[in-house]
Amino acid sequence: MKVFLPNSVWIGNIDLFLKNIDNTNEEILEISSHENWVSVHPVVLCMVTALGLKMRGKNKKISFEIMQATSKHYFERMGLFRFLNLDSEMKINEHEPAGRFIPIQLIKNSEQLDKFITDMIPLLHFDQEKVEPIRYIISELVRNVFEHAGSTEGAIVCAQYYKKSNTIRIGVADAGVGIKNTLDRLYNPKDDIEALSLALTPGITGTTKKVGGSATNAGAGLFFIKSLAKVNRDFFMIYSGKGMYKLLKNPKNKEVKLVADPLKDHCSYGGNYPYWTGTVVGIDLCLDEHANFSELLDLIRQFYRKERKSKNKEKYKKPRFI
């Protein structure tokens, strides 16, 4: 496998980075990078870490080209090399991450998630209103990994705050079974794009086909998170198998309406990406344009109410007078 960290990767331009992942040789992971400057979304760090841990778990080799870019210290500080047990040949004085970033974390169980939410998220030093969607997103995405990914490695998480744009960018990745495999038993999606589309549709869960879900799953988590990005007019992406779905920034002059079918959102998607064994999610949240979390909940409630009414109407038979 070959991964090249280019000059710049954000959700907006992540397509090319994903397309350039070469997974033909699973015996070795080769990591190389742009020689001058590398600036990447946290989701990229999560992906490289997930790949590396998977290779380490299989006792495969990781070949790492020592970074030359002047931004290399960022990768050291985020913990990439430590996680992959690679010698970066860098020694840095680690500053307190308060307010700026959450370094790469591996979360394997519920207790570790509780601790992460208690210890790490307050490091971002945001007020309650801003913390609310961040911990919500991380909790829901990481619990999805525990419940559906079938991954022994757990969930890899990291986040970065960008002061200039006042945006927090969050990545979560796993090297589990992937969304299509999770949904195969009940929905048998024809390809990864259909699987992603189902996973983002409210009410679809891999655990049951009953309306309202099972006792512990409603199939609403990803819909909530995508809706948060939509209401906030931010990017959201999900990548699993050969499929990648990206919610594009909702145009500012367009009213935000929540719809059940994710393919009807302002989005792009494709089903010919290099196969990713597992699931990757990335999201941006601009904090100054941050729509109130409470307003999002109002929209979601209205959405469900409308769905309930239309479903009940569908089943309601009127007498036909001729």
Binding site: I117, Q128, S139, V211, G213, T216, R301
Partner: protein
């Protein structure tokens, strides 16, 4: 009436579904046939939809929606109220 203080079990962010399931199975369900149950969310700042779903959806499914006449929610802030309302909303969709 049985009182269950959520904060004592979850802290200020109620997101752990294992805890929600335990409260539902061990404390709410055994009581509801005989008693009313009061879920007190005092000091809970926020909850996830997954937590509230794991807490009450199976009760609604098993006992019917009228069980909400005997299951009370106290000291909920706006966020928690809205998430509970969302869960009760979609649990009333018909199969």
């Amino acid at each position: 009436m049985k009182l269950i203080k959520i904060y004592e079990k979850t802290g200020s962010f109620a997101e752990n579904k294992d805890i929600a399931r335990d409260i539902r199975v061990k404390e709410i369900l055994p009581c509801l046939d005989e008693n009313e149950v009061l879920l007190d969310f005092e000091k809970v700042e926020s909850a996830t939809q997954s937590f509230i779903h794991a807490l009450i959806s199976d009760i609604i499914r098993k006992k019917g929606i009228n069980i909400l006449d005997r299951l009370y929610f106290k000291n909920c802030n706006d966020t928690v109220k809205k998430i509970i309302s969302i869960v009760t909303e979609y649990m009333q969709q018909q199969d």
